[in-house]
Amino acid sequence: MAQTGSDRRRIAGPEESKPPIFLSDEQQLHTWKLGDPRQGRTALDVRPIFLQPGLIDQANGSAYIEAERTKIACAIYGPRQSRNVPFHDKGKLNVEVKFAPFSCPQRRAPLRDAEDRSLALAIYQALVPAVRLELLPKSTIDVFINVIEADGIDACIAAGTTAASTALADAGIEMNGLVASCSAAMVGNEVWLDLTEVESRSTTGTLVLSCLPALGTMTSVWQTGRMTTEESFQCMDQCQSRCTDIHTIVAQALRENA
């Protein structure tokens, strides 16, 4: 039965869905406990990143990023003329983040549950200081980010930011520098970088840092949960050094694509 008011052309899918629990995942989860070393990689490792600019032909610029099970595609349209808005001497950056229905363990219903404004807000803040919007009066740049698979929400913000800044560069939009982003969290007394969904369940506080490694400045710091001031500084330092590496990956990917 299709709900009234919903899109009739779309197959609605079941009202609720439960993610399958695999025995191997369960076992892995149960063997790890707080205080143990991290499984699969060291605490300060990020997942290996695959970054490919220019994957979507019809967009002015695009990028696809993959870090194990985090997969995000980003497309840039514009700069185009802003319609129906009064004059602005600065351009407008419009960020939209959409989740594929199958991107999370719990199904995200299309239209109703697909859009996440909190992610869009975080990514917008990370990008906006870098883009030279003062050169684009009366115009809008659309940044569409599609999360194809998400593994860890903070990692999603970080990967989305990196992909969007790559795509902006690919679109030839002037920027002060490339934005690189990395997430960190406190697990026990240790700083772990780039947490997966499973790992993030045992954290008390997380931090996402976006910066312009070329200029040595940061564009966004986004912290939630409990952390002492010193712990937050540790997280920021580790993120900063990892962002320098991510910056190299972005620059390399852009150079190869050029």
Partner: protein
Amino acid sequence: MTQSSISLSKAEKSYIQAGLLCDPPHRTDGRPLKAYRQVELETGVAHLANGSARVSIGREGVNTGGGTEVVAATKLEVEDLDDGGIEGGRIICSVSCSPAAYPHLSSSALEDLQQDMSIVLHQILAHRTLHPTNLGIIRGKKSWLLHLDAIVLSDSGNAYDVMFMAARAALWDTKVPRTRSVEYRAPKGSKSAVESEGMDIDPTVSGFDTRQLSKATDFELPDYWDEGEILDGRERWPICVTLNLVPPVHYLDATLQEEAATHLRLLLAYSFPTSSTSTLQGVRLLGPGELSFEATKSLIRQGEKYALEVFTSLEAKLRDEDFRRYQKAQAKFSRTR
């Protein structure tokens, strides 16, 4: 993505910025850079809510307009765990902005603004490290859903700080109704037994006897006169200080005009679970501008000092309000009787 809510000409902006940067700094209302305007707080303003507070900052006098005013209230709802609830209860925060507070904004811009504010409030307050322990009702069946709603009635700058103060005061004021689990046991005649889960045991016959509940437990309220118990962990709720950045200086408690002239804001939410410890509960950098790492770190350190000052005075006021509403009222009541 919030635009400032008023439009200011370039000349006005540069006038305000120049004033902040000169030595000694000048602000339009003559305040020092690190001074707050006068804060007024009252708890228990909404009688149908489980906890409520009204906070205003910078009003010109008693019972006059002006200033930033936020009313926050908490409302508890019973929620089944099968449809949406989670074990141990959950918290949902939302912010609505009165169109009267933002006459310059279109309805869609207002919608965006209140969504952005809701996101910040929800992400910081509904985090699991702050979750109160007494929002569960029946293990595995029912729990409380706490709605925290803040309404921005008027905005003359610094809405975030006022909103967090109001939210903290409302949560501080929140009383969770005492509940008692009820279980029906079929054998041994048709008498019912009342089982308690960590609540006070009272083996009186309950009104649920007539219902043939198989094994399913329900709950009842032992008494309706008492308002309930205090929401757990009320010392932990954070407060927020917004550092408005005009490099190299920063200032607190911006007015609406100053906000429009400042590009970058650093929101710091600090919690002081005990008098000697402090923890960071949220950091947000808002606005189109960059910061160096060293500057950020020193700002976070300084923010902690400001937050402690705000926290101490808020705490004193909240205890004072409790005293006013419960002990003084009781004394007055017993006198008249």
